[in-house]
Point group: C2
Chain length 562, copies 2
């Protein structure tokens, strides 16, 4: 009856999950998922515009109630557990997922006037409506503030804070006029649990601000007024509502309000940690420390690394972001990633579906692919079906498959798609190492790491590094729960820092994928060829390159489709 528990809330693309974790040993004693009510699978879409993807903030509130209550109910079957033993709550969300709020911090979406206006909703991470604005911001920054771009891989994305705000201004100036400020759901959600959504009180997290909103202490926070005004004068007022300081996950957003404590049946006043993005807290949930690369492998990947802040870090070309304390307090957080991994395999299975359902399932293709030796198909691919996030930071790149003969089989192609993502993964690791960062271990989490031994073994063979797999299947929620344990503190049954929390609450599975030297030797040769294709199609390093080829194809496509 001395056990203490923490709750991690993981706000995803389609649903929210509550995870209740035993602080002492990290045991996950209960979990519940609540689907969002609005839109299609929680996403408000526009049949006329495939780029549009929004969420209704009401879903965050209702979802929190439902999944926490249900998880507590489930946990109660455990005789050691009672809700009074919960000592804190942590929150992770997708991002950048910002939304407009009024002067009191209420979402505009809650006002009658705006309740059906998609511009007044939360602009989900994968909303790409602001792609033209992203290019505009990149171009302006290149001219006025190149330092802003150096921290985000050289290109500001359509998925991020300012692109979305600028696009909102262009399509719904009334929404921008009516909003007081623009806030990430990663900040607003801890805000509503703690009664701190008011713009004067809401704590902006460094994870969202640093990776997506061009916040950096080296230029005193958000982009300056001159820059923002050069984008559009009307944004200056919004810029002035943004604070000069941002917080990390060791900070408390506030205390759980009485109303919420009654609603959920939890102790009043327990701390709620400052939020962060799912991938970053996924890194925490995998026990990230300097030297450990965490790979979150799902439809796409996030590759997370931390390094102490005691020495300066060079800008690393092609990285999505380098932000102080975005993952762990006291360390630089480095985020890299692949724009599609599981999505490529799913495309092949769901869209191409070779041989039909009986033969084209992941299981059937993997069974065939497993029997093949590296190199024996003569195939090679580029994993760019959704662009390349790291190290090329170029969304206008596309997939490539080479080496087909009249005998090429579906399983050979499936294996080649896996290998192409493994080569992409190796390119990221090599970029880190090239810039002096240590990668002593690789810990994987996410669905594929658990479900596909084939993928994990190929990753080990291609990178020449052992692939470990996180014990938890809910590393993002676990990371959020760990932030709750840290903000609760040792005095209240939690921990004083993340090193202690990680030691107690995280771990890897016994099964470790160790590189096979013979396979590695073949993959070393194939990787050289991959890099040739990668560089000739993705860079201008070759004197006569194919850099413009994929782009010209896309330009033709877009023109023809118009």
């Amino acid at each position: 009856m001395n056990s203490k528990y923490v709750i991690g809330l993981d706000f995803g693309t389609n649903s929210v999950r509550a995870l209740i974790v035993d602080v002492a040993g990290g045991e996950e004693i209960a979990t519940n998922v609540c689907d969002y009510a609005h839109g299609e699978a929680g996403i408000i879409i526009d049949p006329k515009d495939p780029d549009l993807a929004r969420q209704h903030p009401e879903d965050y509130i209702r979802g929190t109630k439902a999944c926490v209550q249900q998880a507590l109910k489930e946990a109660s079957s455990n005789k050691d557990f009672s809700p009074e033993q919960v000592i804190g709550i942590g929150v992770d969300t997708t991002g950048s997922t910002p939304m407009p709020v009024d002067e009191s911090g209420e979402p505009l979406a809650f006002q009658k006037e705006f309740k059906d206006n998609p511009s007044a909703m939360a602009w989900l991470w994968k909303d790409h409506t602001g792609h033209a604005e992203a290019e505009e911001i990149t171009a302006l920054a290149a001219k006025m503030r190149p330092q802003y771009l150096a921290k985000c891989g050289g290109t500001y994305s359509a998925e991020w804070f300012w692109s979305k705000l600028l696009h909102c201004l262009r399509v719904s100036p009334d929404v921008v006029e009516a909003m007081y400020t623009w806030v990430e759901c990663a900040d607003w959600i801890p805000g509503f649990l703690t009664g701190t959504t008011h713009p004067d009180k809401v704590k902006r997290c460094i994870c969202a601000a640093g990776h997506k909103a061009m916040f950096n202490p080296s230029w005193n926070g958000y982009p300056d007024v001159e820059f923002v005004g050069a984008l559009d004068e009307r944004l200056v007022r919004i810029r002035e509502t943004l604070p000069d300081h941002a917080y990390n996950i060791a900070d408390t957003a506030g205390s759980l309000t009485d109303a919420w404590s009654k609603e959920l049946g939890l102790p009043a006043g327990i701390p709620v940690a400052v939020g962060a993005f799912d991938a970053h807290l996924g890194g925490v949930g995998c026990g990230i420390v300097p030297g450990v690369l965490v790979k979150i492998i799902g439809t796409s990947t996030c590759d997370m690394l931390v390094t102490p802040m005691d020495k300066d870090l060079p800008d690393i070309p092609g990285l999505c972001g380098i932000v102080p304390e975005s993952i762990l307090p006291g360390a630089y957080g480095l985020e890299a990633g692949q724009s599609a991994v599981g999505d490529i395999f799913n495309w092949y299975v769901n869209y191409i579906n070779p041989g039909g359902d009986g033969k084209g399932s992941h299981e059937a293709l993997a069974a065939g692919a497993e029997k093949l030796k590296p190199g024996e198909s003569g195939l090679l691919g580029l994993d760019w079906h959704n662009g390349n996030r790291t190290v090329l930071v170029d969304q206008r790149l596309t997939g490539l498959l080479l080496g087909m003969t009249l005998h090429t089989t579906p399983a050979e192609i499936y294996r080649t798609l896996i290998e192409s993502t493994a080569f992409g993964a190796r390119t990221i690791i090599e970029r880190f190492v090239e810039y002096g960062l240590k990668v002593d271990r690789v810990v994987n989490c996410g669905g594929i790491s658990v479900k596909s031994p084939l993928v994990m073994q190929i990753y080990a063979d291609v990178t020449g590094r052992a692939m470990e797999v996180s014990q938890s299947e809910q590393t993002c929620a676990l990371g959020a729960a760990m932030s709750a344990a840290v903000v609760a503190g040792k005095a209240n049954g939690g921990y004083d820092n993340f090193a202690e929390a990680a030691k107690a609450m995280t771990g890897v599975r016994d099964k470790k994928y160790v590189p096979n030297a013979k396979n590695k030797a073949v993959y070393d040769r194939l990787y050289k060829l991959y890099r040739q294709l990668h560089d000739i199609h993705g860079t201008k390093e070759y004197s006569e390159n194919l850099f413009d080829l994929m782009k010209e194809l896309l330009a033709i496509r877009d023109e023809v489709r118009k």
Copy 2:
């Protein structure tokens, strides 16, 4: 009852066809196909060696009897027809399909000692067992007799006469010792019909000799003794059995023997024309004349062009062959081709079969592909799944598909595969034009030209030229029948030359595929990109190219598979 008829015999890979044609109007009044009895679908194979493909010469004899008798029976239902009105026979075959014969011209395969020895059979065109010997011959010719290579695109093929003979010597020296000479089935078949198989009498056709056996009048016929001896001393004896002169299809191989006339029920002594390869007589059956490109589109393509011999023709790099009179008397015959066309579409449907049988048929995919506009998929491909015959003459090239996104559909890929073969076709046409040859019209024949309006329209749009389709669906057999009409001569109810025969006996369909200017404009842009990929992967013209990339992949594949 004044009508005259000719018979075309078309010896294919799996069967032989007899076609009975009305000389006056080209009407095809009867046809019959007889499958070969030996091996699998007529091909003697070796489960241990996928390169081996042989035919039993007995099948040529039995097949001739069966299909001619059956076709005559069918023709008899026509009241204007009686067998006495047949004035000649023509023969086309696959090739190079040579075989060993004894001093009397009998195949070694008919001798008890050799009856089960694959080396004593006819070495079918697609037998690739001599690939090492082909390289050896190419290397020796490059050193000793570069002029030999200049007429066959720079590379001597594993599919050809000397590679097969040299390989036969290496694996079955007893067969070479027992043979008197080595003869193409295109020569031996007219020989047995006319009692001229004896090595002193058999007429070697210029089509086989010139395209496959390095025969050229400019060096007085076959490769000289010094060259052949440098390959292997034991081949000199065989070389000395080869004549200095070769014949074209306006020449008579001989007269139908009494025995055969009784067997078939045909007039004794009617002329049998000198043979030629199927594709070349297919050109004739399409009414080839200077300025008309004939495309025979099946699993692969042959592209045939003729040009008058009154002025010298430069060597054209990358062409499979330039041979005087190999197609029409008095004209150079030029042969180009694509190593795979229908085979690529079949690979996609049969091996990949996207979505299973219901969705992955040619019909279903074509229906989807037809709805797409040029360029709208953003995809581009290289049609090298079986290497590239023209203009790169490189069997170690492989297929490539580029531009895939997470939304790419099976129909988009299907269309792209078609387009890639169309770009390959355009490259061949441009090579001809670049060297001063006229291409005023393009006449297509072969299954795809009749069955796929989609393919024909794309070919028109990509090349910017109208695609006409031959009236006949049996152009090879028709061409053979036309050669019978010419060797019979006007005096006997035939024709004195091929121009007259073509005028009377060939034609194109009313439906002509005319280029769509808008599509052509998009395809011009795509073709530029195709050429970039083509050149960077297939040539060394770029200062930094990917010439070695596909080859290195194949080297890795071969090593791994060993």
